[in-house]
């Protein structure tokens, strides 16, 4: 089993404030890797380093390395290619103010795919994968912003899948949607892990337990421990981890 993402001594500061301190972590290929921890422990920042959207925070300073398939992310010239390789789903559903069809076709179009049949195929496949197809197939021209919150989150997922990413990152995706949609997306993720590496940041400890092969626990900008999910939940090495997964704090 090979390593897909390799964080080496990663430190991120916003101004003078640490968001991540000396994090070293290996994320294996085609598994679900959960990242848990209390608010402000640096989980989102870690994701932003994977696709380098941390670049958009002008006062962020990064030290250390992030290797994807052995290549240093912060040395990559074509950052747009990198972002196409990494699908991102953020906490709040964002339907772009375009039709449902164009929402999903957005990234492929920007990447240079213009053939109508090819786009049709991508849109259908991604909407099916995101379990949204049946609900929107008759109204693909509807504005994405007019869908319900849960539908928009699945639309966001379909968009993230539209470039066949090797890595899919989800940041607390269930925070603004209903439990039924959450369960459906969890099912989707179990399917998708055959095709791609999934990094799942979650504030629901049980979600990590249900889904993840591996789990890492962050607290106060540090990686406390990472291990097989079973181990984290049953025989955590640190008291802090044990208390967190037991729901004792955070």
């Amino acid at each position: 089993m090979s390593i897909q993402i390799d964080f080496r001594n990663l430190t991120v500061k916003y101004g003078h404030k640490f968001a991540l301190q000396d994090v070293s972590l290996e994320i294996p290929e085609k598994r679900i890797f959960a990242i848990i921890g209390p608010a402000n422990s640096g989980k989102t920042t870690l994701l932003k380093c994977i696709n380098r959207t941390i670049d958009f925070v002008s006062h962020a300073k990064v030290q250390g390395r992030v290797l994807i398939d052995g290549e240093d992310v912060f040395r990559i010239r074509n950052v747009y290619e990198l972002r196409r390789k990494v699908g991102m789903v953020f906490p709040l559903p964002v339907g772009l103010p375009l039709s449902v069809y164009e929402n999903v076709a957005y990234a492929p179009r920007r990447a240079g795919i213009h053939d109508r049949h090819e786009l049709d195929a991508i849109v259908e496949k991604c909407l099916r994968q995101a379990m949204l197809w049946d609900e929107v197939k008759d109204r693909l021209q509807l504005l994405g912003t007019r869908l319900s919150g849960g539908q928009q989150q699945r639309l966001t997922l379909a968009r993230a899948l539209s470039l066949r990413p090797e890595i899919l990152c989800l940041d607390e995706f269930s925070i603004a949607i209903d439990p039924v949609t959450t369960m459906r997306i969890e099912d989707i993720l179990r399917e998708l892990k055959n095709e791609m590496t999934i990094v799942l940041v979650t504030n629901l400890v049980q979600q990590a337990h249900r889904l993840a092969d591996y789990t890492a626990f962050f607290s106060a900008s540090r990686l406390i421990e990472a291990n097989r999910t079973e181990t984290i939940f049953n025989q955590a090495a640190h008291r802090l981890t044990a208390r967190y997964v037991a729901g004792d704090f955070g």
């Binding site: 959207t53 103010p97 993230a160």
Partner: protein, 317 residues
Amino acid sequence: MNKAVDNQALLSSLAVAKSNPFAPTPLEERKRIKEAIAKWLLAIITLMLVLPVIAILGYLVFKAWPILGPSFLLENPQDNMTAGGIWAPLVGTFFLVVISLLIAAPIGVLAGVYLNEYAGDNWATRVVNLAVMNLAGVPSIVHALFGVGAFVLFAGMGRSLLAASCTLAVMTLPVIITSTREALSSVPMSFREACWNMGATRWQTIRTIVLPNSISGILTGVILQVSRAAGETAPILFTGAVFFRDVPEHGWEAFFPYGLHDRVMALSYHLFTLVTQVRGVSDEIQYGTAVVLIGLVLFVNALSIALRSYLRSRKKW
């Protein structure tokens, strides 16, 4: 004894409970009265703001009524302004506005896009923002003097349509930049982030998401500057306005009576001279000119409001 009192209290409280539970308490009654007073007071004050506008417009139209008609618009001033119409200044104002916007709108919109979408949050950007904001507050007479120095003298344009248009452009530029930025920043940040996360470049994001959803606001800002450029006198006073100029009023040339290097007549300046510089101008001509000028401004403002509400009705989120 005690028991009897207790019973009485119990009974009376029951009576209260039985009577209408939605009946207003004295406190709510007082709140209701205050609410009514506030509402009427505010309505009256608002009415007092509208009244002068209606009064001024009504008075102007009433005084100008006999002269208003197509010939007033289409004829040049005659007999030392005491007869004829306002064609020459009307066309002059049109060209001043159009040329100044052709200069200011592209520069202003592009600068607004840069400042809002590309510029980082550093001291240089903050200085530029501060400068733009202050420039928007500079009195128009100062713009006029700047125009004399920069365009008439330094750039060697002389007092001309071009110099006056450039001066108007400098005056409208900061406001166009500011309104463009406001329109752009009304597009939620999350849309941009979603695009960047999919590997779109900044420019692709601007072209596909940001501009299409802010163009209404940008256009409204630009259109509002039409009325400002048409109405101001000071910026053109020393840079290109002329007291009188005989221009063709028939045929094709009537629509292009001025060259870029000619001095031009303009409505606002024409009104000023009619009232202060020339003897024996009938009231009708003076009021008629004012009505056309104010009508132009109101028309453009109405247009921008209509555009805005049309585009707002198609808002996508």
